[in-house]
Symmetry: C2
Subunit: 203 residues, 2 copies
Amino acid sequence: MNLIPEPSVERLLSLTRLLDHLDVQFITSSEIESRTGWSSNTIRKDISYIEGSFASPVGYDRQKLATAIKSTLGLDKVQRFCVVGLGRLGSAYLHYSVFREEGYELVAGFDSSVNRIEILHSPVPLYPAYKMGEVISRFQITLALLCVPPEEAQKTAERLVTAGIKGIINFAPVVLQVPEGVHVRNVNVVDELRAISATIQCS
Amino acid sequence: MNLIPEPSVERLLSLTRLLDHLDVQFITSSEIESRTGWSSNTIRKDISYIEGSFASPVGYDRQKLATAIKSTLGLDKVQRFCVVGLGRLGSAYLHYSVFREEGYELVAGFDSSVNRIEILHSPVPLYPAYKMGEVISRFQITLALLCVPPEEAQKTAERLVTAGIKGIINFAPVVLQVPEGVHVRNVNVVDELRAISATIQCS
């Protein structure tokens, strides 16, 4: 467990994506600066949080640095997650094969409609919503994709937190209130449309 | 058309969401600072880009400011968009009613499989992919949700740009290369899972 400020975590995540796509053996902090726009001071500070040996006189060893960042950020461990709410969007994610390739194992889907669960074809075991607590704790699931209708999002989030979920990707267009120690990221296509139309308008 | 730096656009978008959820008549830049963490200098600078009369001796008029921001960012106009790639994710968005409530009109769906188009039930007109250019130009569509498989994303993006699309929300886990003047925003659930597990690990 390392205490790393959230903006540094975000930059380090982007940095691993950059490093994974480069085709060089070594990279310096000024080369990273010219590709990302972050100052080399910021970059060196961020990398100072990472444990491992990846520095050399000619720069950072690209692969070793990427591996060390992933290890420090815990991205090298398989994480179990569930999908809650099996409407069109939630059930689409049941079939998304990229999760497993990237180290995320989808182990359960939940829906309040038992009928829906019986009808859906799914490569992942499905459960009625009232079994959420039991299943999440049995499989030690820590992450959830929340795909329920907006009016059910807050109370479902509370049940997930009670069951032991530490991170929620929220697809409902509402701001969730969660206790400290639980993390939420919002995926909102309308917000993305707004951001992109505003950028087009103002550039 | 106003030239506003992209970070200011992003903050102004968040600010409209904040303002829409508040229940006060007036708000000062220091009150905004305490709710957002942005310095009041930054806030005043951002707001200086906005045209309209919303300032008063006791602060900004909340509703007038929100309206003025939306108008300057072009969010008060209905924008037409299309969905390209009608697999599980793309076809889920055909049924998403929030778009229209928020001023985004989904006017067309495209898929390379004519068979798929005939099978799908859709409230939105569907077209085979070869009609993309014609339909996008006829309906003056400027935005697209790109939901095709990763290996088709780049070439489909190029066809969209040729057809006149200025903004792409990209759901494929690939980095799109687009010409200047075309804007891309990536929605990547795996990246969100990574960000949230890294935040849990490091906090």
